[in-house]
């Protein structure tokens, strides 16, 4: 690699926790500047011969939290996610840089209603936003999470807890292949927004490209302005 080394810093994996059968949280100790909810880190792994692989991972932790939490989904044959799931142990070090991303971010205080929509592991940056909101609750927030199975709804207990503790936070979780068998379609969005009773002033959509694009178009069709919709796509 080059002589200069960007702003890469060494992070230590302090602990690892299972979130779902295919998703785990990695809590890092890293000498990085504080983040804003919604931002991500670049992670870099280096092989003994110097070969490197790099990926981006959203930050799940609340801004100001002592440990940085990444939540990584295992991709079949994934070069980097498989290392995290199959090799990584507490005490291992990885290279990180960031926090990065200056658009898909949410900062309190925010007076107007906010809609968050996640597909699968797209929940991660929205968890950071929900946690930031919980620390300074203000305007109503509605979080919709769609995953393949009920077990894959990462962070469900915590998010349900935030909603139970504060009526201004609404949490709706759906799974597409089991249980309720619902996906986020026009009818489901209408129902959720109808119950909520607000028109979102700002929307954050995160997940697979097709999911994000479909939900964005549903919102545009419901009259939400393009510029009120912020998107982050995981691939």
């Amino acid at each position: 690699m080059s002589e200069r080394d960007g702003n890469w810093r060494t992070a230590v994996i302090a602990r690892i926790a299972a979130l779902t059968p295919r998703m785990r949280s990695y809590f890092l100790h890293a000498p990085l500047a504080g983040h804003v909810a919604g931002q991500y880190l670049d992670v870099r792994l280096t092989a003994p011969d110097g070969y490197q692989a790099r990926r981006s991972y959203s930050i799940a932790s609340r801004p100001g939290a002592a440990e940085l939490e990444l939540a990584i989904a295992l991709q079949d044959d994934g070069e980097v996610s498989a290392w995290f799931h199959e090799v990584a142990q507490p005490g291992d070090t990885i290279d990180v840089r960031g926090p990065l991303g200056g658009h898909f971010i949410w900062e309190p205080p925010h007076a107007a209603p906010v809609l968050l929509v996640a597909g699968g592991s797209g929940i991660v940056p929205l968890v950071s936003i929900a946690r930031a909101w919980q620390a300074a609750p203000a305007a109503p927030m509605l979080l919709l999470h769609s995953a393949r199975t009920p077990e894959a709804l990462a962070f469900q207990p915590e998010l349900a807890g935030i909603a139970a503790a504060d009526p201004r936070f609404t949490y709706v979780a759906v799974s597409t292949r089991a249980g309720t068998g619902r996906r986020i379609d026009a009818a489901m969005l209408d129902k959720a927004l109808g119950h909520w009773g607000h028109l979102p002033a700002l929307c954050y959509l995160c997940g697979p490209t097709a999911f994000v694009e479909a939900v964005a178009q549903l919102l545009v069709a419901r009259g939400v302005a393009h510029r009120a919709i912020r998107t982050e796509r995981f691939g």
């Binding site: 280096t46 092989a47 964005a216 510029r227 691939g235």
Partner: protein
Amino acid sequence: MSTRGFTGRRPGADAARRLPPGQQQTQDFPVLSLGPAPAINLDAWRFTLRHGSRPLASWNWFEFNALPRTRWHGDIHCVTTWSKFGTDWEGVTLDDLLAAAGVQAPTSFLLAQSYDDYDTNVPLADLAGGRALIATHFGGEPLTPEHGGPARLLVPHLYFWKSAKWIKGLKFTERDEAGFWELRGYHMRGDPWREQRYSDDD
């Protein structure tokens, strides 16, 4: 220092040669944009060249498609670390736009402006000389909305955020003015081979 237990999945020799530092090859065509694709009606579409706020020339969709067309084949690189090899594009070069407008480039810097209010700065040197297109076709087909259709900028030798989707015009500016992502921490030029991702990269 290496990462314990990481061996990595190496690209083949050809891919390794074609991949800028920190990039990996993808077979898909991932999408990076700040929001949803805007709905653009071809009857209302226009492409305008400006010097500051002053229009130099403007084309409607029909006129634009009558301009000389150029094809480009090669690899593209997104700052989110994917690279896609062997892509085919077709569109109009800035050189042909200037010739059709009958003007010389008035300054050395431009801002590409889009229908979704996105903008990004690109120096003239990176757009002129056939190095960039206002692309209307990808892989022989009209560009789809999610990939920036009906027309997007294509600056294939820079990271792909410079290739503004849903383009509506190019504006000559007196100085190198930061655009949307450049104001949010991304590099002013964005050369993948020099790994100019973020503003503090060299």
